[in-house]
Assembly symmetry: C2
Homo-oligomer: 134 residues x 2
């Protein structure tokens, strides 16, 4: 069976510039591309290289976004992580067969990838993203 | 400069057997070694392979442990992650020079590694472990 690997680990932050000063400036993680504004989701994001995977820093830019509500409720910190799987449909069916609750019963598609989130209530409190390259 | 990589990502769980049923049984992550009891820290842990890094599942076994208090306060979920660095002393000094607060000013040593934790207040709410093989 092909291997499941970590694609990225995401941290919600108050201020992306301050976060970059810590993770890149002080700690020395290299940037992976430019800062991006995802206006549809009300967030600015930046990716850093973490060996074969990435650290994603997410700053909410709209007060009504899910990430803004998360930040207001829980404060900054670890938000989710994303595993790359070789066959998303097979994995999702195996999870359903085990009684796991999915947030996205039908995978979403964006930028050459299909992805779905598993409900934290079924994943030890973790917001888990599963994704497949297409 | 040698690369910083992710060594492991740790999740606090209520019940290690239930957690293994999800992460290994339903999702298919392979085990990396046997379950271990770390009595000095009041936890049982299990490691799973996640590409080149690991997912650590931590169940508190003593009510007065730090992890038990974390679980009681925040519930199960993402707890910390650990970056492997090539020169821990150099990284810690660079962090101090940037005003970052460390939990362990003097690195601890165990099982062929030196490690220190960064305070979440200086790391975007993340409990960050830094470690070096010795």
């Amino acid at each position: 069976m092909p291997e499941i690997s970590l694609n990225h680990l995401a941290v919600v932050v108050d201020n992306l510039d301050d976060a970059l000063a810590f993770w890149c400036g002080a700690l020395g993680l290299p940037r992976a591309g430019a800062r991006q504004s995802i206006t549809g989701e009300g967030v600015d994001v930046a990716f850093l290289n973490l060996g074969d995977s990435h650290l994603e820093l997410i700053q909410p830019t709209a007060e009504d976004s899910g990430v803004a509500r998360y930040l207001a409720k829980r404060g900054p910190g670890l938000h989710h992580f994303c595993l790359e799987v070789p066959d998303l449909d097979r994995v999702l069916q195996a999870l359903r067969d085990s009684g796991v609750e999915l947030i996205n019963e039908v995978p979403r598609e964006r930028d050459g990838r299909r992805y779905a989130f598993v409900h934290p209530g079924s994943a030890c409190g973790v917001l888990l993203e599963l994704y497949e390259r297409i």
